[in-house]
Point group: C2
Chain length 710, copies 2
């Protein structure tokens, strides 16, 4: 059924003309009718027979109510009867109400008796819509009563929501089981509920002035979902949508910015300790092969490179200008960048919005927009793009090439990324500081990294999303191709308060981030270490072809903890088929435990690990392996590591690629063995049963979201 948008427009125009921001009940009903949102049926009868007919058509029980402009207190007048269950009761009820009304006020003008479908039974649920400052229109679903009010058991999706989105909401609440029928009640119609959610999401999308909408309660039964009450709040002055260049425009600039052939350093300096000196050193010592133009008001040459007074004096084309000058000089230099048609300004200087200088930041934003110069920062450490040997930053140089692209809103977190990457040998393609995000933000980076062949995974730390809606739209597309991990800080009220004192960002309801990230296929990291471990581990793993995970372990104790971790990370331990169980048993001691985990027991020689791992890789019913190693003299750590790599490479030769992660329990030699395994494509962790499984779980989360596993 196509929505009757004209009817809605009429109601909203009238409310606007009246200067109202809330709709009356009949107006709310009119909107519901226009979008096919089921509400209780009703009609006005002018005879007992009429009333009985109406009631018969809508189904029992019904409510009868007197309709009279002269009777305000209907109940007091005996003008309301509830729970009438048959045509007979309705006929009689009609007469009773009329008689009561006449007795109450003989002169009353009676327009008839309203017959209304009476809702009862079924599950009471809530469907609503809100307008979020960052994400815009969101549709919400939860169970009625205490579950929403006390336990906050509610779930959100971006509007408009697809039918699949809506169905996922029904499973997205803690009390999901209740919809399937518990304590003798029947299962509700998932179809009817999902339809209602979709329609609500379409209504608020089509009419942005609908700021809030509540259907509460909705009675959900095995056949229908009917909204017993509608509440609608309007806002006729919604904020103007944020300006966004087209994806193609973004990409054109971002390619030149992230992979520049010529870099100007505004405020370049030969003096140790100056930021402009650190930037020059990092560019040169980092091995950057493009042009480097120091910009300095007086110098002729800095660190062996010819210096210029302004970017405008540079003869060639410039792709980015790195700013290493105080805040107060930025605007003027930025104008010159604009005139020189430089597509990107890397604004290291602090002293803008984060210190209260909001006007200063607005000024540079306007210059950037006017000249089409994209701004990174201000208040950042700069950025790295390793495949160009580019360290456009005042931090230490970084050169371990790889495929993880990371970004951070905060400089501190950026430094943690650099340190961890170096220490854990996590190869990176890029590390980017976003700071105040006056212009470039997470979605611009996603757009670039999406098509950057050097990048296989994108991991972002953020405290807010200036434009959650754009982020979600881009992320939904990008996650189909590459995993995107986000560490959203400020998830708790206390954290959000700190976030707000830090960047002036207002954190929304954290559950919204959780749900929207899931809707877009984004993997949410719960901690800084998780984000780093995911960025490091996920790209090493081939995409799993199915849900069947098998644990092979030399330590029964690790097997138990690994199983726990599988459940915690939504991984499915394969139910071991009898023939496969037999096949494993052939390799392990009689007192070992087959099943899953396959417990090969602790005292086994390398051969046992080898045979069972080979079987695990060869059998097509198994999709992923988790290895639990136990340090013994019979199979020392490096022997284990090498045999695993050998089997994996043998299988790669047969084009068998499955994700494998490993947990190593043992003395310090397991650290070297873990490193060897990681270097050979197997994420492996000493002294931990949780991290390997969390990494595999994150890979699965991504693969499911991208539709690669069904």
């Amino acid at each position: 059924m196509a929505a009757d948008k004209g009817a809605v427009r009429k109601v909203l125009d009238k409310a606007k003309a009246d200067g109202r921001t809330a709709l009356t009940a009949p107006e709310g009903k009119a909107l519901c009718d226009a979008y096919g949102i089921a509400v209780p049926q009703e009609g006005v009868a002018n005879s007992a027979a009429d009333a009985a007919k109406l009631a018969g058509a809508m189904g029992f029980p019904v409510v009868l109510k007197i309709v009279s402009p002269d009777i305000l207190h209907k109940t007091e007048a005996g003008g309301v009867l509830v729970g009438l269950k048959s045509t007979d009761e309705v006929s009689k009820g009609y007469e009773t109400i009329l008689a009561n009304a006449k007795k109450y006020k003989a002169s009353a003008q009676i327009e008839g008796v309203q017959v209304q479908q009476m809702l009862a039974g079924g599950q009471e649920v809530i469907i609503g819509a809100v307008t979020d400052g960052s994400f815009g229109k969101l549709v919400a679903f939860g169970m009625g009563g205490v579950l929403v009010e006390v336990l906050k058991d509610i779930t959100f999706r971006l509007a408009p929501a697809t039918k699949d989105d809506a169905l996922s909401m029904l499973d997205g609440i803690q009390a999901a089981e209740m919809l399937k029928g518990v304590r003798g009640s029947a299962a509700v119609s998932r179809d009817a509920l999902a339809d209602l959610i979709v329609k609500v999401s379409e209504l608020v999308t089509d009419f942005p002035e609908v700021a809030e909408l509540d259907l509460n309660p909705v009675f959900a039964t095995p056949k229908s979902a009917i909204a017993a009450d509608v509440r609608i709040v309007l806002d006729f002055a919604p904020p103007a949508p944020r300006y966004r260049p087209s994806q193609q425009e973004i990409l054109t600039s971002m390619r030149r910015i992230m992979q520049p052939d010529a870099v100007a350093v505004i405020g370049a300096s030969a003096e140790d300790g100056k930021i402009g000196n650190s930037v020059m050193k990092n560019l040169i010592n980092g091995g950057y092969q493009g042009q480097i133009y120091p910009i300095h008001p007086k110098a002729d040459e800095i660190m062996g490179r010819k210096a210029f007074k302004s970017v405008k004096d540079v003869p060639g084309v410039i792709d980015i200008a790195v700013f290493a000058i105080p805040a107060k000089f930025v605007a003027q230099a930025l104008v010159e960048c604009g005139e020189k048609k430089i597509p990107g300004a890397i604004l290291i200087p602090s002293g803008f919005a984060e210190t209260g200088n909001v006007e200063g930041q607005t000024e540079i934003q306007e210059i950037g927009r006017k000249y089409n110069v994209r701004l990174m920062g201000p208040n950042i450490y700069g950025f790295y793009y390793t495949w160009k040997n580019l360290c456009a930053t005042f931090c230490t140089a970084y050169d371990y090439k790889g495929h993880a692209a990371l970004s951070s809103q905060s400089g501190g977190i950026g430094m943690a990324i650099i340190g961890f990457s170096r220490s854990a040998k996590m190869g990176v393609s890029a590390i980017v500081g976003l700071g105040n995000k006056s212009d470039l933000d997470e979605d611009d980076l996603l757009t670039f990294f999406e098509q950057d062949d050097n990048t296989h995974i994108i991991a972002q730390h953020c405290e807010d999303l200036k434009d959650g809606r754009s982020f979600a739209e881009v992320a939904k597309r990008v996650t189909k191709k590459k995993p995107v991990v986000v560490l959203k800080a400020g998830r708790t009220a206390a954290g959000a308060k700190a976030a707000s004192s830090h960047t002036g960002a207002l954190a929304g309801n954290d559950k919204i981030y959780d749900d929207v990230f899931k809707q877009c296929g984004v993997i949410r990291a719960n901690s800084l270490r998780d984000m780093l471990d995911f960025a490091r581990g996920i790209p090493k793993l081939p995409t799993p072809k199915g849900e069947n995970v098998v644990i092979i372990t030399g330590a029964g104790g690790s097997g138990v903890l690994l199983s726990d971790a599988c459940v915690a990370n939504d991984l499915k331990l394969m139910a071991m088929p009898a023939d496969l169980d037999q096949a494993f048993r052939k390799f392990i001691p009689p007192f070992g435990a087959a099943g899953n985990p396959v417990d090969i027991t602790g005292g086994e020689p390398p051969k046992t690990y080898q045979n069972t791992i080979r079987l695990g890789l060869e059998d097509p019913r198994i999709h992923s392996l988790i290895l639990g190693y136990w340090h013994t003299i019979i199979t020392p750590p490096m022997v284990f590591a090498k045999l695993v790599v050998e089997v994996v490479e043998e299988m790669r030769g047969k084009n068998i690629l499955k994700p494998i992660v490993a947990s190593l329990a043992g003395d310090v030699q397991v650290e070297e063995a873990s490193e060897y395994l990681y270097d050979h494509g197997i994420p492996a962790y000493p002294y931990s049963t949780e991290i390997p499984v969390a990494v595999l779980g994150a890979k699965y989360k991504w693969a499911r979201g991208a539709g690669l596993i069904r």
Copy 2:
């Protein structure tokens, strides 16, 4: 009110005589009455006036029911009236019922009319008791309906529960807020509910044959808590309580076992690769100064030590015998140990219950009991007690002395403990393998470590607790003095299945472990790394004197993540008093953020860290500090580390001791700085904002449980 135990005994004896395992409703009521558990009031009236009087005394509304041995179907006979709201209605109701009864069956013998209090309104809750295989009697509490049935929102405590235990249960469910009154309903009487819980817990404790008890629903109102329905299941053949020596006996043996002056190695060997050889090497190379007696059927001397054919041939006293012989020879050698009056046998050999050889294990258990030899294992790596330089194990030697005593049920986890300890320089007092736990278990270790001055924290990995009741009793006492951390594996159904294939242990409901650990002040670790990090970090921290935590950070971004972590770990960020805020502001740049976190901003010199940390330590309103460091050229990592230690030592000089943890964000040099800080008593972590806060949170959890913070 003292319980009427005689009345209960009478009811139970009758049920037993009848061969019943369930009680009738009146019998259930009799038990409730005996323990002062409120049930609806009732009485039998023989006149209308009588009925009215009874009803008036118990309060309206009431239910009337005919009492007649000749009328079985009361409702059919018109013999039941519900919801009577006044004396008048009751009087008339009495007459109506009598008239109906006579009409129904003129010959019926009428014994009167039962007047019963009718419960309605208030919150419906569930109070119950269950018998757990490991913990014995437990009392349970939850909200009625879907909250328990669908969301499993229920909490347990060991019975008998104190009033404080009971009150903590009311706050221990997710929906706790509902008891405080939501949606216009009044708060229920916490006192009445807690009383009911205590009484139920006493009833099942006094009468172990009460296997299950359900009060469902209990109507909780602002004034009372009344059980509308009682269900009781009996078990007249409860398992015999496990034999436990007295705490003094345990201690006497454990002291000799853990700190032996003479060790026999049964199966000692000079041959490389043999377990008996590894044990000898570890003892000798580990630097053990006591007597070492190799036991071997033929050798005269092994590794320079005189060998004996049997422990019985050794002239002196022996404290422990380490077994390095196959399972089949263990029993005979154990008898000899018994005859030699050796108090402890360290049973390394596998091949007992874990391989299905249950009889073999029972046999050695019986020998141990007969001769009073305590058994460690079988199926273990042995144990370490560093302060005696004792490595009674076939694993690698370990000698880094410290104050954490660790144990593991699994050998693999034991090796992970050893590797992590060595790598992270976690000083340990002991590492113990418990394996099959045929005798010695976690509570024996707790009893020893409680009084061992070398041990400041106890951390235990377990897959089951053979005797959760004993563990809980001992833990409750020990945690008052020292923190106890437990990693309970098999927390999920999948994990529990693996645990059961591994050790034959049946895992109970994981929520029971959660709740009982909390009741006993035990800190539950969620992961292997958490257990290890807690064992390493907690003993370094002084006990906090109060709940006020302040974050001082150079990286605003770390501040946000640290705040998030505080909430996740139940830490309270102090609301900064105005004068203290002013005091901090004096030290930080104008655009830094005071409040909490105190954001000193990134570009600050060492002095700023120094001043703010000193202020944080000096001000008595602040009880703990969390530091967030950001690597800059102005304050490099080691400069930061040293200045922190300097300030902390200055304060120690003034006897100011507060817990401090640190999160270091920066390049790889922060690893060395973290190590330096840890070595000087400040748990510090590179690239993580979560671990430091989790460690501090665990210290607080312990201190609160031990009653050191109120």
